[in-house]
Amino acid sequence: MSWLIWRLYRAQAAITALLLAAFAALLLVTGVQVAAQWHSALVTCTQTHTCGNLSSTLFLGSHAVGFLVIMTLGVPAILGMLCGAPLVAHEFETGTSQFAWTQSITRRRWLAVKAGWLLLAAAAVGAVVSGLVTWWSGPNNALQANAFSPGRFDIMGIAPVGYAVFAMALGITAGALVRRTLPAVGITLAGFIVVRFVIFSWLRPHFISAVTTYFPLNRAVTVAGSFWQLAAGYVGAGDRPISIPQSTTGTVLGTVGGGIPVSSLPAPCQALAGGGNTPLSPAVNDAVLSCAQAHHIRAYLTYQPAGRYWAFQGIETGIFVLLAAALIAVTFAVLSRRDA
């Protein structure tokens, strides 16, 4: 049976291997260049003591390769559409299922071997692409500290393996249910986009409850490492958020989102500032700051700490692998009840 799978898929396997090899060659060549660029920039900025603003002045790699790396977001969907969706649907369409299902081998075993090898192949392709992208992005992650941000999190680590397995399972199930390849391809694409979208915008921020840290107004509002910022702003007494007008031309204090305008402070502090639009002198600025502190006004940052990166990767991958398992179970149930 495994021999049959190999015969059926050898052309696809060869094409996939070729594409992966081309992608690997491109990323290896440009990745070495990026690493060299990063190291020489580090040496220069250490000498001139300008490493602090490196993230705003340095651009690593090329736009074209960076674009290609972002495009790897679509690799799982392509696997699901081109290999998963036809797995059962194409046999139905061409009628070969009538032959395949009347052999000595049972339908369950036929599906188990076929789906098993394809899911394994999807996991392998996802892992290779993700491994290359993770390695290539190393200097960028160190420079921008954004490995936890949406969009970056989704192309690195182990999450792409989960996506690839899920997309493949979705394609197989869609094909088994609708029995036609093209509708199954469309359903796979739409289903993959919707599930990914729902999980990353509504579920992922709540995998582990976020941390909120408070900062005095005269401190920079940031924490160490590649944290994932969920919200930031200002709170007054009793930790009630302060509503800040969307735009202001007056004097501002603090740094979060452009700062807190003096006009949003309690009246006594506004009086100290004089209410003018001119920049405050250092002495007045200090007085206004301590007045605001006396009124318990603080900046806050709600975030997922950098230390949770791998926990989040594990949870996200787990969710998608579980979804894939549920889909495969549905496929088995559908196929064992269906006539050829």
């Binding site: 679509g74 735009s247 202001t248 031309t249």
Partner: protein, 307 residues
């Protein structure tokens, strides 16, 4: 023949119309919210530097708008690729090509309606996205930047027609739907990448502005900045981006008189904002021309192929 095409594609048309309606609803709801937000901002500030870090538009709306970049290729592989390939695979060509209607006419009507539908679909999505992005374009002045340029105006029509033609041609040449789908996806991404990364910045000659290297310069309006840096009188560009060094001395430490004597100037090369619509026209023209070539290949292959 037109009646036949309608019968073949009515369920696909219904699904496409439904998806478009859902997309339109999401964009109109979030777009109206953003427009009212923008109008309340206009009372006090007019651009991102005066308003501080205001963020315009909802995340959902923004994600949908980014996803619209993929709409043309979806048309290409779900409608275009099966057009001929599926008939060849199921053997229905044996019947179709044995009718009184000629092969060329069969292909003309089928491909013609499909390309028209693709242009309308691409145009509707582009119109919605362009309307939705109005406040953001005014606020961030970024509609000429890569990826924003690609979602708005008339270029999405060109992409949609090209992707559909690519799908039809791939299906005709490969004769198998799945292979044609793969070729369409790969070909579309490859072509878009090549043209947007390597060709687009050369459509028209760029403008270069020179200024005092210690000050900064931003071109008027929604210009597309191609490169910026510091150059000497011989045209030698100093490395280091916006904080360059001359022989190991940071540019900020060089006396102004010395800088003037050696002709060191800052430069910004950009495509000015008034090149936006010529660029949209050129890009659309390129994709329509590519689509025409692909269709010519399709007609040629179909004419000389046996059923």
């Amino acid at each position: 023949m037109t009646w036949l095409v309608w019968r073949l594609y009515r369920s696909q048309t219904a699904i496409a119309a439904l998806l478009l309606a859902a997309f339109a609803t999401a964009l109109i709801v979030t777009g109206l919210q953003m427009a009212s937000h923008w109008h309340s901002l206009l009372a006090t500030c007019t651009n991102s530097s005066a308003c501080g870090t205001v963020s315009l538009g909802s995340t959902v709306g923004h994600d949908l708008v980014v996803l619209s970049l993929a709409a043309p290729v979806i048309l290409g592989f779900l409608w275009g690729a099966p057009l001929v390939a599926h008939e060849l695979e199921t053997g229905t060509v044996n019947f179709v090509w044995a009718q009184s209607i000629s092969k060329a006419r069969w292909l003309t009507v089928k491909a013609g309606w499909l390309l028209l539908a693709a242009a309308i679909w691409g145009g509707a999505i582009a119109a919605l996205v362009t309307w939705w992005s109005g406040p953001r374009n005014a606020f961030y002045s970024n509609q000429f930047q890569p990826n924003y340029f690609d979602q708005q105006g008339i270029v999405p029509i060109g992409y949609a027609v090209f992707a559909t033609a690519l799908g039809i041609a791939a299906g005709t040449v490969c004769r198998r739907t799945l292979v044609a789908i793969a070729v369409t996806i790969g070909g579309f991404i490859g072509t878009r990448l090549l043209i947007s990364q390597f060709l687009r910045d050369h459509y028209m000659a760029a403008v270069t502005a020179y200024y005092n290297p210690l000050s900064s310069y931003s071109p008027p309006g929604s210009a597309w900045v191609l490169s910026t840096g510091v150059v000497d009188r011989y045209g030698h560009v100093f490395s280091g981006g916006s904080a360059p060094e001359v022989n190991g001395v940071p540019i900020t430490a060089i006396p102004a008189s010395c800088m003037q004597a050696s002709g060191i100037r800052g430069f910004t090369t950009y495509q000015p904002a008034y090149h936006y619509w010529p660029f949209q026209g050129i890009e659309t023209g390129i994709y329509l021309a590519l689509a025409a070539i692909l269709l010519a290949v399709t007609f040629f292959v179909v004419r000389y192929r046996d059923a």
